[in-house]
Structures are given as C-alpha cells and as structure tokens.
C-alpha cells in the first residue's frame, strides 16, 4: 500500500485560483437624474455610481424605470418624441448632457444591446460585425476588417461556431448566437461602456448562461450595466446591484445599491428584501 502523504504536503502542491487582474472601462456618475415622456415622469432624482471592471445590475418590477434609466445613459431616451431628461450623467467626469456634447459620438462610446436579438437580417455575419465600424470609424483595408471581425467574434466566444459561415445571413444563427453576434457588433467599435437591456429575455437557459459567462469576461475591458427583470440572473452575473421601484406616489427611483452579495444576503431596505424574496410584485 502506498504511504499517504501528510495533508500539509498536498496543500503545498496545490495552487490557489488566480485572482482577476485590474480592469479598463469608464466610471459613470449619475446625479439627480429625472426622465420624462412628455409630462409623465418616468424616473426621478436618481443618484447612481457605476464603476469600471464590474457588472452593475439594475433590477426592479415592471414599470420602475430600469430601461428608461439605461437609455438615459447613452442618450437614447431623447430619441423618443417628447422625451427628455434632467440632471447629469458623467462619463469619467465628462457630462454627456452638456450643451456641446454630441449624442451620436456619445452613443459610439456607450454601446447597447437590446432585449430581442436584432442582427441586420439582410446582412451576413461578417457584415453585421463591421456595420458599426463602417459608420463610425475611418475606412479600413479588407485585412483590417477581417481582423476586427475575428477579434470581436472571439471576444464573444462565437468565432469557432461561425468562422465557416461568416457570409451566411446573421438571421440564420440560433437565438443565443444572434445575441452574441449583437454583442460582437457593439464591441467592434470599441466602446467604453456596454449597456444590456434584458439581453437574455428571449433566450433559452443554456444560451442565457453563455451570455452571463461572457459578461464575466467582458467586464475586464468594459464598464457593463445589465438591466434584468430576472433577479436570479442579477445575483449570478453581477458584482453590484441597484434596486429601483415605482409606486402611486413616486416615479421610478433608486431604493438601494450595493455589492450583489450584500444585496442578496442582507439588504438594508425592507422593500429590497421583499422584492428579491418574491414578496413584492
């Protein structure tokens, strides 16, 4: 019989898991933000801090202003007729609502992925990825576009699945692949921030988990904000969580923000506890 090694020897031969390295991305500081659809106030007086290198989840019941919130971050809210916002949103200290701020340029720095995967149906996988590059960046050589496509698709763990069908329609992919394609399209223009508005709502559980794992990797390079109505997803996939609520007397407002593990272990506010435990509809 082989002699059993002392436990101490076994410990010395095992290495601890590596810690993640420091990250890129930009901080977003929201102060006194309110957003309106004409006379209707959708969110009011939001103070929110979003840090680089982490995934920030925004949760809350339907109608609490989650999507309005993130659409204010990249100035897509005002695309709707009659919609406007007050307050400030600072991107690394730069006010994106300053009078001389260019919203189009801002939206290039702050990418967005929507609930329903929306690859351009008449374009190929390849063309989908470079669509944003063509609109926003100086013209590249073919080799430059090829490199950008491969880099983006590798970043979303899609390259191996589609490298042999780059010139097939983007719509020919599965739902989960389409959503990863949309993320690849968003990051192809190298934004600093990535906003995701319920990106997994239309996906099956396996595809959902793949997207969540992807976010864990992407946060190394981008500031990520994830709106989700799925509390369990927020708990799994985010580092920080912000809970919003609206009621008869108040437009959507921030109830509590904190590290996700604290929010789901011992939230400070009873309304947060009621919501995450399913007691608040």
């Amino acid at each position: 019989m082989n002699p059993i090694r002392p436990l101490a020897d076994i410990v010395r031969n095992r290495t601890a898991p590596e810690n993640p390295s420091a990250n890129a991305g930009r901080s977003i500081t929201v102060r006194s933000l309110s957003a309106f659809y004409g006379k209707h106030k959708a969110i009011e007086d939001i103070d929110l801090d979003i840090h680089p290198g982490v995934v920030t989840a925004i949760i809350g019941p339907s109608g609490c202003g989650k999507s309005t919130m993130i659409r204010c971050i990249n100035r897509m809210h005002e695309v709707i007729a009659g919609a406007y916002a007050t307050g400030s949103v600072l991107l690394d200290g730069e006010d994106i609502y300053a009078p001389d701020a260019n919203p189009v340029r801002m939206r290039r720095r702050i990418g967005m992925v929507f609930q329903k995967p929306n690859p351009f149906p008449t374009k190929t996988v390849y063309e989908n990825v470079i669509a944003g590059i063509r609109l926003n960046l100086p013209k590249m050589t073919k080799a430059g576009y090829d490199e950008a496509v491969e880099k983006s698709l590798r970043s979303v763990a899609l390259w191996d699945e589609v490298k042999d069908k780059l010139h097939s329609s983007g719509a020919s992919l599965s739902g989960g692949q389409q959503q990863r394609l949309c993320i690849a399209r968003a990051i192809a223009i190298e934004p600093e921030v990535l906003l995701l508005d319920e990106p997994c709502s239309a996906l099956d559980p396996t595809a959902t988990l793949k997207i969540e794992d992807l976010l864990f990797e992407l946060k190394e390079a981008y500031t990520i904000v994830l709106v989700t109505h799925n509390m369990q997803q927020a708990a799994r996939a985010s580092d920080t969580t912000a809970f919003f609520l609206a009621d008869e007397r108040h437009a959507g407002h921030l109830i509590e923000q904190g590290p996700t593990q604290d929010m789901f272990m011992h939230p400070k506010d009873q309304r947060t506890e009621d919501y995450i435990s399913g007691r608040l509809g």
Binding site: L7, I10, A16, A235, Q261
Partner: protein
C-alpha cells in the same frame, strides 16, 4: 463552451479553503501529539494559538458558502455540496478544539515521568490524523467509498478508547496519588474518541453529498 465558469471557480476557491482548514486541524493534532510525546510545552501553546486561525477559516468558508447559495441558485449536487460544507467546517472546527484539549493536557502532564498509557493516546491521535486527511480528501474528491473507509477507522479509535478507560481506571486504583494526572489521560482519551466521531460525521455528510441520501456510519 463550458458554462457557469464563474460559479465553478468560486466553488474551487471554497474547496481550497476547506483544504487549508483541514490541513491546519491535522497540523494542530500532530503538534499536540508531539507535545504530549516529548513534553514540549511551547509546542502545546502553539496549538492553542493556531485555533483562532481555524475558527476564522470556518467563518470565512461558511460566509462564502452562504453567498454562493444566495447568488448562484445551486441545485442537485451543487446544492448538496454547499450544504455539506457547513457540516464539514463545523466538524473540523470541533476537531480543532479537541486538538487544543489534547495540547492543554500535554501542558498539565509535562514535568513528570510520562504514564505508560500515554502511548495509547498517541496511537489514537495518529489514527485520527489519517482520518482528518482522509475525510477532507473524500469531500474534495467527492468520493463516498473513500468516506466509508475513513469512517471505518473510527472503530479502531473506539477500541483504543475502551482499553484506555480500563487501563487508566486500573492505574487510579493502583496509584491513587496520581488520580488527578491520570484523569487528564482519561479526559484526553474522551476528546480523541469524540474527534473520531466528528470525522465520521464528515464522512456521512460526504455520502449525502455524493449519493443524496443520509447514512449512519457511527456505530
């Protein structure tokens, strides 16, 4: 494409801490054993000091396991594993306490000629160092058969304890002036017998983790 990479990594970190805790408990028992064998009071004091580290590790592991349950919604074996880790750390912590008891006895028994019966204590402790290592390995390797083998070793510990009780009672009758010192031997034997039970508890928890059913491995 492997999914739940982050959760798997966190489980790995947790198990690394369990391994570290088990290592410290085994080291504590070995030191207590050596202190008893060589009447090394300083070594015995080291065991007492390191118990705080063991206790802190328990709290760290349990906090982290609770966070994983809250944030990762584990089911099936993942859930059983996280539930089991609470039993593992609780029983390791108690084992650490018994190592401290043995170290305290070593301090009290030092300075005079050792009892012959001390050899039996040392033999019990050596069996249990192996049980600690085996129980923790069975948990980390998710090996129910290994857990059953480790639990079976407790029979030897129990047998030694019975002999110890018989011999020490005889010693007390023959040398009543040594009753106080001899009672420390008896108490130490009791602590070691309970330490073996704690390792068996870990083994039962491992079987639950792997097979999803509760078994009784203590006689």
């Amino acid at each position: 494409m492997q999914t739940r990479v982050h959760f798997i990594e966190e489980l790995s970190r947790l198990n690394h801490d369990v391994l570290a805790m088990g290592t410290r408990v085994e080291e504590s028992l070995r030191k207590a054993l050596e202190a008893l064998r060589t009447q090394n009071v300083e070594l015995a004091r080291e065991v007492k000091a390191s118990d705080e580290i063991i206790n802190a590790l328990q709290l760290k592991i349990e906090d982290q396991a609770a966070i994983l349950i809250a944030t990762q919604q584990p089911v099936a074996r993942d859930l059983r594993e996280l539930v089991t880790v609470f039993k593992v750390t609780d029983n390791l912590e108690r084992a650490g306490d018994h190592a401290v008891h043995l170290a305290k006895a070593a301090i009290k028994l030092a300075g005079e000629a050792p009892f012959r019966e001390t050899e039996r204590l040392i033999k019990m402790a050596e069996i249990e160092c192996g049980m600690i290592r085996g129980a923790v390995d069975a948990y980390l390797n998710q090996d129910a058969d290994a857990a059953r083998r480790v639990a079976a070793e407790d029979d030897a510990v129990d047998a030694e304890h019975k002999l110890m009780v018989k011999e020490v009672l005889g010693l007390m009758r023959e040398r009543p002036e040594q009753i106080e010192r001899a009672s420390r031997l008896l108490a130490s034997s009791g602590f070691l017998e309970r330490l073996g039970d704690h390792m068996t508890n870990i083994c039962e928890a491992v079987v639950f983790m792997v097979e999803g059913r509760h078994v009784e491995l203590n006689d």
